[in-house]
Amino acid sequence: MAQKVNGTGIRLEGRPVSAGGAEGVSLVLDDPLSWWGGIDLSDGTVIDRNHPQFGAGTTGRILILPYGRGSSNGSAVLAEVIRSGTGPAGLVLQAADPILVVGVMAAAELYPDRPCPLVIVEEGYDLLSTGRPTRIHPDGAVEQDAYGR
């Protein structure tokens, strides 16, 4: 259930898949994204020309997207950006996309010192928006401030 916080910010219940807390400015991907072929490994930029967020930087952001898409190599690309430090700070998905779930879990196995939490938010997902300070809590809750800083 969505709850108001900080005056007009929101707090959503989520299901933690890869545990840990994270904080960053949110970026909502309006369409599903294939990491492989869709993200530049060297700097985390969206390089899929057909994607609405083409050209956006994902490094250090709390990425919010419905689910993944396309190539099954996405898991390795996600793990690699987490390893190399060009990955997102955390992921909020609407559905447990196996490709992305596996990417963060494999990264957690290999590189435990570089956590990238992933949570599933089924209810209230549409309330999340771009450009807001956003926190993922270890219990899976996602908090988003009303205004950008």
């Binding site: 099954s72 996405g74 390795a76 290999l110």
Partner: protein, 421 residues
């Protein structure tokens, strides 16, 4: 409903059967839990997608499992890698990448994978049968297995593919389950001229459109009388690139779609009537340039060309030499290359065969001096990914367009067959 692991699964998880099995089972159980699976099931074969070197993480994961003693429990084929081991000179990447890519390949071979290095494992002799539960990676192979063979697999990604091969287990989710194989969206193509519905480029463009429109629904296509395996392959690869599609029913063609009612499980799928305008728009979207630029390469065989497709190329080329300014690459599997006739004749005409990898996933194509130089392809999948991966401009066309262009040394592209009389 919570996940229940079998005694065998728990034994693996505990490390009783070795550390590699434990690591693999941690990933499988974690995915199963996250996805709401109730149990893991046995799988009878695996196809490993993680063989492509995408960075240190690719090698780290495979090498860790190998070093922990990992060994596959089911027959396992290996997908494309970053290198062509039969034509190593084609690779233009740096030596560090070459070494890491080679080490990644070796780790999978060490664990018992067959060095097939193809994205079209369904073109190998021992393919899964109807109803078999398998663990296949490579999105185009997943669509083919589910749709054409009637085997069952979810879209396995890197890491979890080898985890399934080592343990022989997979989470029972997605397309393993009857209820998730029902069509939720119907694409009716009966409004497209019949002669066009028989062409390969129709299937590629339709697949691209289906992938974009289907969302999370399983698509069913009505209005196609027949589809060759190569056409199903082209369509599936396109749909799995532009969307998350893991299965496509074609009424009257694919094994779980004798009727629309069977494909949809008695439900009424939402209807998309495909028009010539829709196909035109998709055809345009597959080109990043109008093609009034220098042509440098033509890329065929994504997914890997079959022997039939190579024979078709031979007929279309009809003994003509490829233009000196153009390289025509044909990506195929090493098994197909070994068995197909007339390969040396085609090579003499200037055709460059690439095996074990593909020109859109690794550095084979020389970066053009003229940044606007175009690459041409008959693959909607190649057209979809190449601009992002390689920074090239792409023109999609029929195989005949590609061949005529390669001979002429400039882009020649006809209108879509649905516009022809």
């Amino acid at each position: 409903m919570a996940l229940t692991l079998s005694p065998g699964d728990r034994a693996m998880l505990s490390g009783e059967l070795g550390e590699a099995d434990a690591m693999a089972m941690r990933l499988l159980a974690g995915l199963a839990e996250a996805s709401g699976a109730r149990r893991l099931i046995d799988i009878s074969s695996a196809h490993i997608d993680g063989t492509l070197y995408l960075g240190r993480a690719s090698l780290d994961y495979a090498a860790r499992l190998r070093d922990l003693g990992g060994r596959v429990r089911v027959p396992t084929t290996l997908n494309v890698s970053s290198l062509d081991l039969l034509h190593p000179e084609l690779f233009r990447g740096d030596d560090r990448t070459r070494r890491a890519a080679r080490a990644t390949m070796q780790a999978y071979v060490d664990m018992g994978g067959r060095p097939t290095w193809t994205c079209a494992p369904y073109q190998l002799p021992d393919r899964p049968g109807f109803g078999d539960r398998v663990a296949w990676g490579e999105s185009n192979a997943v669509v083919f297995a589910n749709s054409v063979l009637g085997a069952r697999t979810i879209r396995f990604g890197d890491f979890v593919d080898i985890a399934a091969a080592l343990t022989g287990r997979a989470p029972e989710i997605g397309l393993y389950l009857d209820e998730n194989r029902r069509a939720g969206v119907r694409f009716d193509v009966s409004g497209i001229p019949e002669h066009a519905r028989k062409t390969d480029e129709f299937f590629g463009v339709l697949g691209f459109l289906v992938g974009r429109e289907a969302g999370m629904d399983v698509p069913v296509i009505t209005g196609i009388e027949s589809a060759a395996e190569d056409q199903m392959k082209v369509m599936g690869a396109a749909a799995a690139s532009s969307g998350s599609v893991g299965m496509i029913h074609v009424v009257g063609v694919t094994p779980e779609a004798d009727t629309l009612a069977e494909a949809a499980g008695g439900f009424e799928p939402r209807l998309v009537k495909v028009t010539a305008d829709d196909l035109d728009a998709a055809y345009r979207a597959l080109c990043s340039t109008a093609g009034r630029t220098t042509l440098r390469t033509v890329n065929l065989g994504t997914p890997h060309y079959s022997a039939r497709q190579i024979a078709r190329l031979d007929r279309l080329l009809d003994g003509r030499q490829i233009h000196e300014d153009v390289t025509l690459y044909v990506n195929t599997g090493r098994d197909v290359l070994r068995s197909a006739p007339r390969i040396p004749d085609l090579e003499a005409l200037g055709v460059v065969f690439v095996v074990d990898t593909c020109t859109y996933v690794t550095r084979i194509i020389e970066p053009p001096a003229d940044r606007k130089a175009a690459a041409m392809t008959d693959s909607a999948k190649w057209a979809y990914y190449a601009p992002g991966n390689l920074g090239l401009e792409v023109v999609f066309g029929s195989t005949a367009d590609c061949v005529e262009s390669a001979v002429a040394g400039r882009v020649i592209r006809e209108i879509g067959p649905w516009r022809k009389r």
